[in-house]
């Protein structure tokens, strides 16, 4: 078993375990920590896929900024253990099998579709996508969307201020 495959296996298991922990955890803070585990293992997978810039952004923005925001809000509100309401019988006996079925249907489709098999072993380029190429693409072909996101962030900041303001 080669080293990249070993790294992939470890990170994939960690990511799935984190996602299951997110569902199983009773307190929101445990769910948040599980989600951080998922994000960090995904960052390692991005490195493995030859996208170091995306991996860095994943760590800094997702695992850093967004999850700190989540943990901050959880601590601020301090609502404690999540109260369990009794599920409807329909959700319990039809929802779980259907959810699992959806999961396996998507996985099966991806693993056996023509797109999946065409690229399965292969055409993966040897050239690692450098940050220089990515930024050239971002600031030439995608310049307008890039500028538009700055307006989006401005609107989001204003919206958060207006919503959180004391009346």
């Amino acid at each position: 078993m080669s080293l990249p495959f070993l790294i992939f296996a470890i990170c994939a298991i960690l990511a799935v375990a984190g996602a299951i922990l997110l569902i199983a955890a009773k307190e929101p803070i445990h769910s948040a920590l599980a989600l951080i585990l998922v994000m960090i293992s995904l960052a390692v997978l991005y490195l493995l896929l030859g996208a170091p810039f995306i991996a860095a952004v994943q760590i800094i923005v997702y695992a850093g900024a967004i999850m700190v925001l989540f943990v901050f809000v959880i601590m601020l509100l301090n609502m404690g253990v999540e109260e369990r309401t009794n599920f409807s019988k329909l959700a319990k006996y039809a929802g779980v099998p259907l959810g699992v079925l959806l999961l396996f249907a998507i996985a099966h489709f991806l693993a056996h579709s023509s797109a999946g098999t065409a690229i399965a072993n292969g055409a993966a380029g040897t050239a690692s996508s450098s940050t220089r190429d990515l930024s050239t693409q971002l600031f030439q072909q995608y310049l307008f969307p890039f500028e538009a996101t700055s307006i989006l962030i401005l609107v989001a900041v204003l919206g958060a201020l207006v919503l959180a303001r004391k009346e």
Partner: protein, 104 residues
């Protein structure tokens, strides 16, 4: 290090599994913050698929898309958590079943 050892379809299957777990968490969780986190989990799963496809086709557009998804997710988290704080102040609870004014 030879990077093309792991087939791209493995990444796609992992992405699908994470997305399915995100959907399950979204449906089953009752705490609004946890529901928010399951949305982030689904976004992450889609990002993984984007990067895997960018790798498979040796094309950078997928990475640019991931960049934009992360930016939009950051903006969405800021506004969404402001709404959560407002909700918690008004209702004294984070349970989505108590927020039913618009429910049919």
């Amino acid at each position: 290090m030879n990077l093309s050892v792991v087939p791209v379809s493995y990444y796609l299957v992992l992405s699908a599994v994470l997305f399915g777990l995100g959907v399950i968490a979204f449906v089953f969780k009752r705490n609004i913050i946890t529901i928010f986190m399951s949305i982030e989990l689904m976004l992450n799963a889609v990002n993984l698929a984007f990067v895997a496809f960018a790798r498979a086709h040796n094309h950078l557009d997928g990475l640019v898309f991931v960049f934009f998804v992360i930016v939009v997710a950051a903006a969405e988290a800021a506004v969404g958590l402001a709404i959560v704080i407002m909700l918690a102040q008004n209702r004294q609870s984070l349970n989505v079943e108590r927020v039913n004014l618009l429910k049919f």
